[in-house]
């Protein structure tokens, strides 16, 4: 059988993304503009191709996700801005779904875009949209099923948007660094500053984003995670906004030297040879060179270069790169080192497929306090993450199962958890439980007895940490 010729649409994410593009360029250009027509044609071709095997195709917005014929389309870094845009455009119109029921034409889709864009000026956009597309037989619409105005939901949306924004920015920076093009740090600064603003309000929520390790691209997520964890530690130290911004960017760029490491080594799935390790160990020096050759030299780039160089130097002077003199890493580097090691240990990397559970990672750091990491900063870090960091899968004395959702600085051993399995071993509706709650007799209602490694069970933390609010 010959492959159908589908040059553009590769997958569900791509399809939703294309729809967003149609509306975006429709806002800028006339509907008959060649740019719009080209995009419409590609979209129509893809839809029609799908309709060859499926009777209908529904693109639906439910909560914060798009669904195609009830299968959720996963939120992806490369599409996040367009997804976000499309979500917002749907909501503005009270639109919940668009259904294609039969082969559509370019004109159908053009007319739809036209009405879609113009209906916003009416008092009831959805009603206007519905009236406007009455003559288009192949497209029907549905209303938005849930009210989306809830404050927490918005916060979560902003949080996720900021997180993905940061990843997208890091990808752009890494791409430029690899191509040895000049990098404008102010764009990264904007992202980091937004992270800081958000963390000043919702630190725990942002930290929870770092606990979700099921993303595809370790390096990009790792850089953002290290930035978030470093910022959280910096906040605990009382650094001001300007210095937090410097720290956030330095942490963001700590691994930038990896762009100089050959992909075949970075992506190697089997253990490294000695020679490959030696190459990997070059990334701190490469980081310095990358930063200094692609960025304007200023206070921020200098601090970033220092952190890039020092983040694998141990507290006792061991580690790499080998230095000729007595070396004491600076404060930012010591902060980033802890964040880096914690996130690396708890993540599945290409060359280390078995991540440690958060509390095991803490245990390893504690064992190496004073040798590999700064013992004082580590104390503060543990106080910040709690002894059961966010994302830890815990077993309670009530024989219930939960995931740590938020730390409790006053009672580190009693965080807030998302309860996921009841005492009968049955999955329950997700609910938040504060483990510092007591019964009338003064005893605690629930206490953590054991921890489990969520990675072992491939539990999708995002399902619990992000959705626990709704």
């Amino acid at each position: 059988m010959n492959k159908p010729d589908v040059p553009v649409i590769k997958n569900a994410k791509d399809l939703v993304n294309r729809l967003a593009i149609l509306f975006r360029i429709g806002q800028t250009y006339s509907i008959d503009n060649e740019v719009v027509i080209k995009a419409v044609d590609e979209f129509v071709e893809a839809i029609n191709l799908v309709l060859l095997s499926e009777k209908t195709l529904t693109i639906e917005l439910l909560g914060e996700y798009f669904y195609l014929n009830r299968a959720r389309v996963r939120y992806a870094v490369q599409y996040y801005l367009n997804f976000d845009f499309l979500m917002s455009e749907f909501r503005k119109r009270g639109l919940g779904s668009i259904t294609y029921t039969e082969r559509i034409s370019r004109r159908d889709q053009q007319d739809f875009i036209k009405v879609f864009l113009s209906c916003l000026s009416s008092d009831s956009p959805y009603v206007t949209l519905m009236g406007g597309i009455e003559t288009i037989e192949s497209i029907t619409i549905g209303t938005l099923k849930q009210a989306q105005q809830d404050n927490i939901l918005n916060k979560r949306q902003v949080l996720r948007r900021t997180y993905f924004n940061a990843i997208s920015q890091f990808k752009a920076v890494a791409g430029k660094a690899k191509a040895k093009e000049s990098i404008e740090i102010k764009k990264a600064k904007l992202v980091v500053n937004t992270l800081i603003d958000l963390m000043l309000q919702e630190e725990q929520m942002m930290i929870s984003m770092t606990a979700i390790k099921d993303y595809d691209e370790y390096t990009f997520h790792h850089s953002v995670n290290v930035s978030i964890l470093s910022l959280a530690l910096g906040m605990k130290l009382g650094l001001n906004k300007k210095r937090l911004s410097e720290l956030g960017i330095a942490a963001f760029l700590h691994d930038i030297g990896k762009v100089a490491i050959p992909d075949e080594i970075l992506n190697k799935t089997t253990p490294f040879t000695d020679e490959e390790w030696e190459t990997m160990k070059l990334h701190p020096v490469e980081g310095v060179k990358t930063i200094l050759t692609t960025m304007k030299i200023d206070h921020v780039s200098i601090r970033s270069a220092v952190v890039a160089y020092e983040h694998h130097l141990n507290f006792d002077g061991s580690g790499y790169p080998a230095v000729q003199q007595q070396w004491q890493a600076n404060l930012y580097s010591n902060i980033v080192t802890i964040a880096d090691r914690f996130d690396a240990m708890t993540s599945a990397r290409v060359y280390s497929r078995e991540p440690k559970s958060p509390e095991t990672a803490l245990q390893v750091l504690i064992e190496n306090a004073g040798k590999h990491v700064d013992p004082i900063l580590l104390k503060i870090f543990i106080k910040m993450t709690g002894i059961y960091p966010i994302g830890t899968l815990v077993v309670l004395d009530t024989r219930e199962l939960g995931i740590v959702y938020r730390g409790n600085p006053d009672y580190p051993e009693r965080p807030v958890i998302v309860l996921i399995v009841d005492h009968n071993g049955k999955k329950v509706q997700k609910s938040l439980i504060d483990l510092s709650e007591r019964r009338l007799d003064g005893n605690y209602r629930r206490t953590i007895k054991k921890t489990l490694d969520y990675n072992k069970y491939k539990i999708n933390l995002s399902e619990y940490l992000l959705d626990a609010y709704s």
């Binding site: 590769k10 997958n11 994410k13 791509d14 593009i21 975006r24 800028t28 250009y29 006339s30 503009n33 740019v35 095997s53 195709l57 195609l68 299968a71 996963r74 490369q78 599409y79 801005l81 845009f85 752009a172 102010k186 764009k187 600064k189 904007l190 603003d197 595809d216 906004k241 300007k242 911004s245 020096v285 310095v288 060179k289 200094l292 050759t293 030299i297 206070h299 921020v300 200098i302 220092v306 160089y309 080998a322 000729q324 600076n330 404060l331 803490l362 104390k379 543990i382 106080k383 709690g386 002894i387 899968l393 077993v395 199962l401 399995v421 999955k427 921890t451 489990l452 069970y457 539990i459």
Partner: protein
């Protein structure tokens, strides 16, 4: 009709709102320029702030919020245009737009200082080489509570070529900064990456196409509830059987640890440049190839310039010191040295380049405190060539303190290259010559006396004055003889300095007494000497008193006695000078005459006689 009255009233209010918004932007634009030009204590500066603030208050107190929608050439309040400029210079809308700002909001309660900070930032040149920040970051760092902006993330994050995007207010086909046809598509498409997954809908099709593996597909599809449940239940079963583990302990910081971390934070902010210097030296010293060493050398150069711009001489010094350890001292032949050394040598060369020295000059001219010790060490590390460089620097320095500092450095390093210093005595600029003489004087090497003497006839009096000071310092007979030649200099300050200089030499060198006595005596006996200024004449007599003897005393008594019928002013001055000399010389022989003149009617003479009497009697 009620409705129309309401409508008209609202319309009237709207008109006033738009007018006030326009006035505010006009005032802000004016203030932006004024704040850039004048210091904050200037009346024009204060007026600009006051005026803008008063208009802002007028608007905000009536309408609560001022929300400006920004396009590259316009600003709108709602749909009303309140600002328009198609230019690229001084276009406030374009300034904000290029920063990615699409909406700017001023809130009620905006304090004056916040508005001032904001306006100052709009006038700041963030494109300057030494700028460490940008507009958005600076506003953010200031934490302005009542001024907020919305940024078009797509325009801002997607790259420099995409000023448009949803909500940007740009229409297709708009000229100038607007997005060109096709770029919108490109911008939107830049969201598209190489996705590998699909929804369940496409699963069968993709499998058939063989584009991606099942594993990839599963990775991106939302897990079904059944699968998730299965995993949870496995986890639950494991949990029941798992042994309990004790959690890690959370320990509080001790007071010592708190103190240590506070000190670390305080120390940390100032050490980055120096730390990067250490890092670059480490990398340079171990660099594997010439390309790497070259990159590091270039980075060093950038860092040196950055540090100088930040008045951080210490880091530059660290760099030079570190690199000097890599480069063999005094080598000039590059043959046979390694890539590392060659690049280290390049850095040393850069340190005495014109660009660096000029920047060093700007730093010295700034008001920031610089350690003279560091500057001297820097110069020393540059080697012999530093004298020449610092001489050039001296030519261009603006402030007195900077010139003094450069001179002091030259005094320290000049000995190593006297030749270069002497050469600059021929400089056409008078103050360069004067500075060279100053430096030579302080170095105090008699070998250059002849070179200095050649400047005795220099056209500028301040150069000659410096020569006199130098000759005084050298204290040799030759210098003394040369000083005598300045008795008739055309400039009185030079003459005074010469006679004072001779006095200072005589005090320390008894061998010069006779020469001095004869030279001064001859001068005061000259016909025209009487015509000189009284203060100058006195200084000659004062020095003469240092080498007094009976012969001179006798001459002075003669001058004092010389009474004429119609005493001229000059004659009185000469007699007063003689009395002054006799007093200083302690001439007891002159006592009877002095006592006799004690009640003389001339005030000047009486005063000097009285002083002389007192001095002799109390000696």
């Amino acid at each position: 009709m009620q409705w129309s009255t309401t409508f008209l009233w609202e319309k009237g209010m709207d008109d006033s709102r738009i007018t006030t918004a326009r006035t505010f932007i006009k005032a802000a634009l004016k203030a932006k320029k004024t704040l850039h030009i004048y210091p904050s204590n200037n009346i024009l500066y204060r007026n600009a702030i006051d005026e803008t603030f008063s208009i802002a208050q007028e608007y905000l107190s009536s309408y609560g919020l001022l929300v400006l929608r920004i396009t590259p050439s316009e600003m709108f309040v709602d749909s009303e245009q309140v600002y328009q400029s198609s230019g690229k210079m001084d276009n406030l809308a374009l300034f904000f737009f290029k920063e990615g700002i699409r909406e700017l909001t001023f809130k009620e309660g905006l304090p004056k200082n916040e508005l001032e900070e904001f306006l100052k930032l709009t006038g700041t040149d963030f494109d300057r080489e030494d700028s460490n920040s940008d507009f958005i970051s600076s506003v953010w760092e200031k934490g302005l509570e009542n001024i907020k902006f919305t940024i078009d993330e797509i325009a801002f994050l997607e790259g420099d070529a995409v000023p448009g995007g949803p909500g940007s207010g740009l229409e297709g086909g708009e000229a100038g900064e607007a997005m060109k046809a096709g770029e919108a598509m490109k911008a939107a498409e830049s969201q598209i990456g190489e996705g590998v997954g699909t929804g369940a809908l496409f699963l069968s099709r993709i499998k058939a196409q063989g584009d991606i593996s099942t594993e990839d597909v599963e990775d991106v599809i939302c897990l079904t509830d059944e699968r998730e449940d299965g995993k949870l239940l496995t986890a639950y079963e494991d949990a029941v059987n798992k042994e309990e583990v004790s959690p890690v302990a959370v320990k509080e910081l001790t007071p010592e640890e708190r103190g240590f971390i506070v000190a670390e934070i305080a120390k940390d902010s100032s050490e980055s440049n120096g730390r990067l210097v250490e890092i670059l030296i480490e990398i340079l010293a171990t660099s594997g190839d010439s390309a790497e060493a070259g990159v590091i050398a270039k980075s060093f150069e950038d860092l040196i310039m950055h540090s100088l711009r930040a008045n951080d001489l210490r880091s530059v010094l660290m760099a030079l010191r570190g690199v000097r350890e890599i480069v063999p001292e005094g080598h000039h032949d590059r043959r046979g040295i390694s890539d590392i050394q060659e690049n280290a040598d390049t850095i040393v060369d850069f340190c005495d380049s014109r660009a660096v020295i000029e920047q060093l000059g700007r730093m010295m001219d700034s008001t920031k405190e610089i350690s003279e010790e560091d500057l001297t060490e820097y110069a020393r590390l540059l080697g012999k060539g530093a004298v020449q460089l610092f001489m050039s620097l001296l030519e261009n320095l603006q402030s007195i303190s900077a010139r003094r500092m450069a001179n002091n450095v030259l005094i320290h390093i000049g000995k190593d290259n006297m030749e270069a210093l002497v050469k600059r005595l021929k400089d056409p600029t008078w103050y360069v010559v004067r500075n060279v003489i100053y430096v030579l004087r302080n170095i105090g090497d008699n070998a250059v006396l002849d070179d200095i003497l050649k400047m005795s006839r220099h056209g500028h009096p301040r150069v000659r004055l410096e020569v006199v000071k130098a000759l005084t310092n050298f204290k040799s007979v030759k210098a003394l003889q040369a000083l005598k030649d300045f008795f008739d200099d055309s400039d009185s300050t030079v003459r005074l300095s010469a006679i004072a200089g001779i006095g200072s030499v005589v005090k320390e060198s008894s061998g010069a007494r006779l020469f001095t006595r004869d030279a001064i005596l001859a001068k005061v006996k000259e016909k025209g000497f009487e015509e000189r200024d009284f203060k100058e004449k006195k200084s000659f007599f004062e020095t003469l008193a240092l080498v007094s003897d009976g012969e001179v005393d006798e001459y002075m008594i003669g001058v004092l006695k010389k009474k004429t019928l119609f005493s001229s002013r000059k004659s009185i001055e000469s007699r007063s000078c003689a009395a002054y000399y006799l007093g200083l010389a302690g001439s007891r022989e002159a006592l009877p005459l002095l006592e006799k003149l004690g009640n003389t009617s001339d005030h000047l003479l009486r005063e000097h006689v009285a002083a002389a009497l007192q001095r002799i009697k109390h000696e």
